[in-house]
C-alpha cells in the first residue's frame, strides 16, 4: 500500500536510524520533521556528536556479531547486507561526495596465546554455517598473508568471512543528511524535545503528527526505563605505511577487537565493551590494549598518528537486541547496541512496511506493542 503524501511524520534523533528512516520516507514524498538535540552544521567535528553512529567502525558483520549475539542478529544482518549496496549507490548518484562501501569480507585472527578463542570462534562459525549456510574459510599463515600482506608474522591461523562488509560511516551520515535536506525534510537541530504520544514538545512549542518515531538511542530513557548505555572506546589513527583490504578482527579474551580501514589511510580500532554509562575519556588501560593490539598486527602502527580517541555509549536493552515498540502513535526504535550498521537498514525497511500495513519477515523479532496509558 503506498503511503499517503498527506502523512505528517516526526523523527526524533538524527543518528543512523533517524537519518536512514527520514531519507527513505522522504522518497515517499511525506511531510517529515527531523529533530536533533545536537547542532548539526559542518563545523561540528564528528567525534563531538553524541550519536554512536559517528564513532562506530561501520562494520556490517552478521556472522562475527551473531556469534556473540544470536540468530536474529544474523538474519537482520544478512538483510542489511543485501540492502546496503542499493542505498549507497543511490546516495552516490545523488551526491557529489562518495561513500566508500566495500564487501570484501572480514578476517579473523588471533595471537598464539589466544588460540583457544579462535577455536571457539571457529566452532561457533561452523555451527552457524550448518544452520544458515553462511560462508567461511579456514586459513593458514600463508593464506592470511596472501589476503593481507601487511599482517605480520606470528598469525598462523585465521578465518575469512567473505560476505561481510564495511562502510565509511561518516560519509554515509553526511550524505544521508544532505539528501534529507534536498528532499525537504525539515530539520530542527540544536533542540532537545520531549515526546507525548503523537506530540513533540519543546519550549512553548507543541507540534502534533500522525506518527512520531523516537530514534534517540540512550536519550530515550524516559520512555524505555530498561535502556542502558554500554561504554565503548575507539581510536582513529592515520597510518600511511599500512594497507588493509578488509576489517581485521583480533580475538581477545574479553571482547573482539577490530581494526577497520577507512579512506585516507585512516584506521578505526576498537572497541572495548564495558558495562558502564561513563562517557569520560578513554582509560589508559584501554588505550594500551587497543594500541598494543594494533602494534602487534603490524609494528608500523607504532608511527601512526592518533587522530581521535572516542568514547560512546551503545544503547542497549536487557537482551541486547534491537526493538521497535509501538505505543499508539509513538514508535520507539531502540536497543541497536553494537549493531547499528548491521541492523539499521533491515529495521528501517520493516518499519516502512509496517507503516504501509504489511508485515515483513523480521516483524516478529522486532516489533512489540505497549498499550497507550
Amino acid at each position: 500500500m503506498p503511503l499517503s503524501p498527506s502523512l505528517n511524520i516526526a523523527i526524533v534523533g538524527a543518528g543512523l536510524v533517524g537519518r536512514l528512516l527520514a531519507y527513505q520516507l522522504s522518497q515517499h514524498k511525506l511531510k517529515i520533521s527531523l529533530y536533533e538535540a545536537n547542532r548539526l552544521n559542518s563545523h561540528t567535528p564528528a567525534n563531538q556528536l553524541d550519536a554512536a553512529a559517528f564513532t562506530a567502525a561501520g562494520m556490517i558483520a552478521p556472522i562475527s556479531e551473531a556469534l556473540e549475539a544470536d540468530l536474529d542478529c544474523y538474519y537482520l544482518g544478512t538483510t542489511s547486507l543485501a540492502l546496503w549496496p542499493k542505498i549507497v549507490s543511490e546516495l552516490n548518484l545523488k551526491n557529489a561526495a562518495q561513500i566508500h562501501y566495500q564487501q570484501s569480507g572480514s578476517l579473523i585472527i588471533s595471537h598464539p596465546q589466544d588460540r583457544a578463542e579462535l577455536q571457539h570462534f571457529s566452532r561457533a562459525t561452523q555451527r552457524l554455517a550448518n544452520t544458515t549456510g553462511a560462508a567461511f574459510t579456514a586459513l593458514n599463515g600463508s593464506d592470511i598473508r596472501h589476503l593481507e600482506p601487511d599482517i605480520g608474522n606470528g598469525f598462523e591461523q585465521g578465518i575469512l568471512l567473505p560476505d561481510e562488509a564495511h562502510i565509511d560511516n561518516r560519509a554515509l551520515m553526511a550524505s544521508l543528511l544532505q539528501q534529507c535536506l534536498k528532499q525537504e525534510v525539515k530539520l530542527i537541530d540544536d533542540t532537545a524535545v520531549e515526546i507525548d504520544n503523537n506530540r513533540v514538545l519543546y519550549g512553548q512549542n507543541r507540534h502534533s503528527y500522525d506518527w512520531v518515531f523516537d530514534c534517540r538511542g540512550i536519550g530515550a530513557k524516559v520512555h524505555r526505563p530498561e535502556l542502558r548505555g554500554v561504554r565503548g572506546e575507539l581510536l582513529r589513527v592515520y597510518c600511511p605505511e599500512v594497507n588493509f583490504n578488509r576489517p581485521i578482527r583480533l580475538m581477545h579474551p574479553r571482547y573482539q577487537l577490530y581494526l577497520v580501514p577507512k579512506p585516507g589511510q585512516q584506521f578505526v580500532i576498537g572497541a572495548t565493551q564495558i558495562e558502564s554509562e561513563d562517557r569520560s575519556a578513554m582509560t589508559v588501560q584501554s588505550m594500551l590494549e587497543l594500541c598494543s593490539a594494533m602494534y602487534s598486527i603490524n609494528p608500523a602502527f607504532a608511527e601512526a598518528r592518533i587522530l581521535e580517541q572516542n568514547t560512546n555509549l551503545r544503547p542497549a536493552l536487557n537482551n541486547n537486541k534491537a526493538s521497535v515498540l509501538v505505543c499508539d502513535r509513538h514508535i520507539s526504535i531502540n536497543g541497536l547496541f553494537r549493531h547499528g550498521y548491521l541492523v539499521a537498514p533491515a529495521i528501517v525497511r520493516s518499519v516502512i512496511h509496517w507503516l504501509q500495513g504489511q508485515q515483513c519477515q523480521h516483524h516478529k523479532i522486532l516489533f512489540s506493542t505497549l498499550e497507550h496509558p
Binding site: 530513557k221 579474551p253 554509562e277 569520560s280 588501560q285 541486547n320
Partner: protein, 264 residues
C-alpha cells in the same frame, strides 16, 4: 538420612555451593537467566573497569541487584596490595557490603595470584573489618598464612583463570583440604566442565566459584544448570563417603557358583 547441608561463610549460611561470576555473558538477560538456573545465591562482580563515581543510571548494577543474590565484589585486575585495598574500600561504599573477593595478580601471563601482596592486603583488609575471600594458589604455606591473617574462607585455584583446565594439582589440593579443616575452602578459577566441579566437591571442597565455563558456553543457561547438578552430586558423594580405591578387583557378587571359564 537428610541433613540440612548449608555452606557457612563468615557466619552467613548459603544453601547453594555454587558461586557464579557476572562477566562475559552475551546480554544481561542471559546473565540473569544463567544465575537463576545455577541456583547460586552469591555472585561476584568486578568494579575495576567501571567508573563508580558516576552513579547516574547504572542500569547494569540495578540488574545485578535484581537477581536477589548476595554480592561479592572482587578486586580483579589489581597488582598490588595498595591497589586492592583501595578498590575494596570503593566497593564497600558502592555496594554497601564488607565482603570482598581479594584478587592480587602477580603475573600477567597466567593471572597467577601474588602470594606476598595477597597476604599484606588480606591482613590489612581484615583489620579494617572486611570479610575477605582471597583468591590464592594451592600452596599450603600461603594458605596457612592467609588463615593466620584472619581469612575465614580460602579460595585456591584449580587452574589459571579462564583456562578450563580443571583441578591441575590434585595432590596439592588434597593435602590442603586435609590440613585445613577448620574453615571452608572454595575452588576458584580454572574449572571448565561440570565433572571437574563435581570432583572438587567429592574431594571435600566446600564450594566452587566460576564464570567463563558458564558464560562462554554455547548455552550458558543449560551449562549453569549442569554445573549446579554436578556440584550437588559431588557434595552428596562426599557426604556419602567415597569407597576406598583398591589395587585388585573385588567382586560385588560371590563367584563360587559360576563355571570356571566365567571366572577367568
Amino acid at each position: 538420612m537428610q541433613h540440612s547441608d548449608t555452606l557457612t561463610l563468615y557466619d552467613t549460611s548459603f544453601n547453594s555451593r555454587f558461586l557464579l561470576g557476572t562477566a562475559l555473558y552475551r546480554s544481561p538477560t542471559q546473565m540473569s537467566e544463567a544465575i537463576k538456573a545455577s541456583g547460586s545465591e552469591f555472585i561476584t562482580l568486578s568494579l575495576r573497569r567501571q567508573n563508580p563515581e558516576q552513579s547516574d543510571g547504572d542500569a547494569f548494577w540495578q540488574l545485578i541487584k535484581e537477581t536477589g543474590c548476595k554480592l561479592l565484589p572482587n578486586t580483579a585486575g589489581c597488582k598490588s596490595a595498595k591497589e586492592a585495598i583501595n578498590l575494596a574500600e570503593m566497593s564497600r561504599e558502592l555496594f554497601a557490603t564488607d565482603w570482598i573477593k581479594l584478587e592480587v595478580i602477580g603475573d600477567d601471563y597466567n593471572l597467577q595470584p601474588d602470594p606476598f601482596e595477597l597476604v599484606i592486603a588480606a591482613t590489612e583488609l581484615i583489620k579494617r573489618g572486611f570479610k575477605v575471600l582471597p583468591y590464592c594458589t594451592d600452596d599450603l604455606v600461603l594458605c596457612l598464612r592467609l588463615r593466620d591473617a584472619g581469612c575465614q574462607v580460602l579460595m585456591p585455584w584449580g587452574a589459571p583463570i579462564g583456562t578450563g583446565q580443571g583441578l591441575l594439582n590434585k595432590y596439592h589440593l588434597q593435602s590442603l583440604r586435609e590440613r585445613i579443616t577448620d574453615i571452608p575452602l572454595i575452588i576458584d578459577a580454572g574449572l571448565g566442565s561440570p565433572s571437574q566441579a563435581a570432583a572438587a566437591l567429592e574431594m571435600g571442597y566446600d564450594a566452587v566459584l566460576l564464570n567463563t565455563a558458564v558464560a562462554k558456553a554455547d548455552d550458558p543457561v543449560l551449562m549453569a544448570r549442569a554445573f549446579s547438578l554436578a556440584i550437588s552430586a559431588g557434595r552428596s558423594g562426599y557426604l556419602a563417603g567415597l569407597m576406598q580405591r583398591r589395587q585388585t578387583a573385588a567382586p560385588s557378587t560371590p563367584v563360587l557358583g559360576q563355571p570356571f571359564w566365567h571366572q577367568q
